[in-house]
């Protein structure tokens, strides 16, 4: 009998709605609602695991991620368990975001399908501004956009992928849904069959969840604060009745004894929900009853139980012993491993840092408490928003709202985490921006932590991208400074800048590609030669005062269009070139929060030697 079996589509169809199989280890995955976070986790959050999100200070991006997770669950028709102590769980559910393109019933008008993101609009604006500033003929300007795409430094790079810092979203099938919604106008979710439910829906942060969707949503709300109050009042009543004649010491001891075990109560509730809904595979409501026969059809009708816990271990959570939370997580993990369920837990980790860590912008070393929690979870990420940072490091990276640290990614049923194979954001190899001389993220993560990640919150979505600093002074400024010499179209101007050579001579623009290719393809020595040669030849072009940047690094910074940068960055496979890439970021960011990591310094030093 052959060991090769053709994968029949029916096996895929029998998955629960909104799930997919991991391409690496066959794990059932659900989406977190954020495509880039799915990518980091290796395609999605594996069923049966716990994701810990360490919240940001002063902003609530952590809760935003939790909301994405829950909202995606409502789209897929999953059971959503919302646990919250600080805020009322109802408030969290009611404030979930709407689906992009869906007509919101609450009356917020959305004209048509505005699929364009802020980023693209920005780019368009930039182009427009550039067009105003430039002196070239209008026809040349019209060409510019298309020219920018086609422009290659050297033919051998033309086949390579474009440089991208994020994960592209799949084109959503929004138009069809809008039509359907317009025709029947009764909420789109029930009309979808399980196979039609998207793995990851596109949401719109400017709208709220529709009332219809809220009605159909299958949610269980657990207000941990409410649980606590009930228990406390119960205890008070009993205390009053029989503790009147007891002395003070005994009384307090008894109070401690009777202090409610809040985590236990929450866990009991979760277990109850899992068992009631039939999400658990080992635990049943009535053990004596005959187990229901598992049929493939039943699997397709099955839903996932999504557990979202908001701000666990915040001051409103009471614990009886220091181990309460550890025990809670361990028991929850044991529960979820044998259930069709997954949990996302946010925790205000910054409350638990030690004094010096509390003020560090890069609190990569977490407290022992948080660290132990991470051991008990399957995945752990930390959000660090610039708004909450105490230094003004954010000014250098205004394009991002904060940094995104990956501490741990799930390793299940395999030796290596699936994201090392599948993730675009974590693994620099897939994209060509990272390299062997990676930044040493103090936290590292079980992934290699090659990339620094940042996040942006646009009008419509939350996106995690590779963090890189913009050219100093901005692209626009650089362009205008190279203006005087340009007599021809802006195209050759840009070529000249990319070659970091003088644009006064017409031959230089044709020389530039050759120089660059020789610089990037060879070993470190040949590159340094190329760099110094460039410097000698030009000497007049350099616009920025970037301390410690070699000629090639300048070149890299001067590259305006994405296509070129990608070609260069991905074309370099040796370690030295990566050093330059880091040099690029280091030179700009030496005063910023992301600098001062050993790996980066190493890269900078290696290219300083070229000088």
């Amino acid at each position: 009998m052959s060991s090769f079996k053709k994968r029949v589509p029916s096996a895929q169809a029998s998955l629960p709605a909104g799930c997919r199989l991991s391409a690496y280890n066959g794990q059932v995955l659900i989406s977190t609602g954020v495509p880039s976070l799915d990518d980091i986790l290796g395609g999605g959050l594996p069923v049966g695991t716990i994701l810990l999100i360490q919240e940001d200070r002063q902003t609530s991006y952590g809760q935003l991620l939790l909301k994405y997770f829950l909202r995606q669950g409502i789209v897929a028709g999953d059971k959503c368990v919302v646990v919250s102590g600080d805020e009322r769980p109802e408030a969290i559910v009611r404030s979930l975001m709407g689906i992009a393109g869906e007509e919101s019933l609450s009356g917020s008008v959305q004209q048509g399908v505005d699929n364009r993101d802020d980023d693209e609009e920005e780019k368009a604006n930039q182009r427009r501004n550039r067009a105003k500033g430039a002196s070239g003929s209008s026809s040349a300007l019209d060409d510019e956009d298309s020219e920018q795409d086609r422009l290659t430094i050297a033919w051998r790079y033309s086949g390579l992928k474009k440089f991208e810092s994020g994960v592209g979203t799949r084109p959503p099938a929004i138009s069809s849904r809008v039509n359907k919604g317009g025709a029947s106008n009764n909420g789109s979710e029930p009309a979808l069959t399980p196979s039609q439910i998207p793995f990851c829906e596109q949401f719109d942060l400017t709208t709220r969840i529709s009332a219809k969707a809220l009605e159909t949503a299958d949610t269980t709300l657990i207000d941990s604060g409410e649980l606590l109050r009930n228990k406390l009042s119960d205890n008070d009543n009993t205390d009053d009745s029989d503790d009147d004649d007891e002395d003070e010491d005994n009384y307090t001891a008894q109070r401690a004894e009777r202090q409610p075990d809040q985590y236990r109560n929450v866990l009991d509730k979760i277990r109850e929900t899992l068992i009631e809904g039939g999400f658990s595979t080992t635990l049943v409501k009535d053990p004596s009853a005959a187990p229901a026969a598992a049929t493939p059809g039943a699997l397709a009708e099955r839903h996932i139980c999504r557990i979202g816990i908001n701000s666990i271990a915040s001051p409103s959570w009471r614990s009886k012993t220091p181990q309460d939370l550890y025990k809670f997580l361990h028991a929850l993990r044991g529960l979820l491993r044998f259930s069709f369920g997954a949990a996302v837990i946010t925790i205000p980790a910054h409350l638990y840092g030690t004094i010096d860590q509390r003020h560090a912008t890069d609190g990569s070393t977490s407290s022992p408490f948080i660290h132990r929690l991470e051991q008990l979870c399957d995945a752990s990420v930390r959000i660090e928003s610039f708004a909450g940072a105490l230094t003004n490091a954010s000014s250098a990276a205004s394009a991002y709202h904060g940094l995104f640290h990956v501490h741990k990614i799930p390793v299940l049923n395999s030796l290596i985490p699936s994201s090392t194979k599948l993730s675009v954001l974590l693994d620099g190899a897939a994209k060509g921006s990272g390299g062997a001389s990676a930044s040493s993220n103090g936290s590292g993560g079980s992934s290699k932590g090659v990339n620094n990640l940042g996040f942006k919150v646009r009008r419509k979505r939350f996106a995690i991208e590779t963090f890189h600093l913009p050219p100093e002074g901005g692209v626009g400024q650089r362009r205008t400074s190279s203006e005087p010499s340009s007599t021809s179209s802006s195209l050759s101007d840009r070529k000249g800048a990319s070659g970091s050579s003088s644009s006064s001579s017409s031959s230089s623009s044709s020389m530039a590609p050759k120089k660059l290719s020789s610089g990037t393809e060879g070993s470190g020595r040949s590159r340094s030669l190329g760099g110094s040669g460039n410097k000698g030849a030009t000497g007049q072009v350099d616009v920025h005062s970037v301390p410690g940047a070699s000629g090639v690094a300048r070149k890299m910074m001067g590259l305006p269009p994405k296509g070129i940068q990608g070609a260069v960055a991905s074309g370099c496979s040796t370690g030295g070139s990566d050093g330059q890439e880091h040099q690029h970021s280091h030179a700009h960011g030496s005063s910023s929060s992301s600098s001062q990591r050993p790996g980066v310094n190493l890269g900078a030093n290696s290219s300083l030697l070229d000088f």
Partner: protein, 300 residues
Amino acid sequence: MGYLSLESHLPPSHAPLLPPGDYFSITDTQASDGNFLLHHFISNYVKADQNVVLVGLAGILVHYTMVGRKLAINLATARTKGNFYFVDGLTQLTDYAAPNKDHIARPAEPKPLASGPPSRTIPAPPPPIVLCYSPKLADFYRVLEDLIKNTVSKNSKGPTGQERQLCLILDDLSVLLNCGWSCRDVLALVRYLKLLVSQHNGTLITLVHADGVMAEEPSQDGLVKGVLYEADYILDVRGLDSGGSRDVHGQLSMLHGPGYLLRQRSGQVKENEWPALTLHYKILDNNVEVFAKGYSSGVL
């Protein structure tokens, strides 16, 4: 067979098995998980048809079975044969999880099996033993003691007639500490288990997390130090000091425990038989490459 490149660096006296009566302690950090070493030992012992008892305090049986499949061993058949025992230390370990017991489904009657395809003549492996909550760790010890004595009495002799070796693996000692037992109790459990296992021609392997951050907590620090004090051999897994790399996932130090020198003097171990050394490793899909520092495929 486990990882070939690692095999040559382990104590050679009983290769591919470990020297019986010894205690191997694996310490790891969050950035570099030491779990892959456990798989190596499990697969080596199962391949050699020896007895393995695995206590899953953090991992579940499915995980080990799936990885075992990648390493070309079948843990399900080993369980049926009685060579491999899995102890579930996850689902009912704490008092929080204790109510789970009331809801466990009774094992299905053999009736549905009869209706299944006739190829399933192999009896299903026995259900894993579950560590149920108890305030005293001594109860856990008793469970494991019963299991090990049972196992050894049933199949102590290998196919060739010589005595079988035993390997007891605890996949995450830190969990016990996290779940509320004191450092003293956990260390006492380790000592008891070490003694128990050495009586039965066995080796004890434990894994404990030893991140630098954790040293701030006295209990966690005490556990790591205590475990290292007890150990005969120490396998220390940590990330590279210089950060991450695509070709090197971390650094693996193989060290002698504190008792090594005395045992060397008394002639129990030959001198220079097993030098302590530090290597680098890279985890692949179904193998782990271990190589000398600086000899990664990315460099050469």
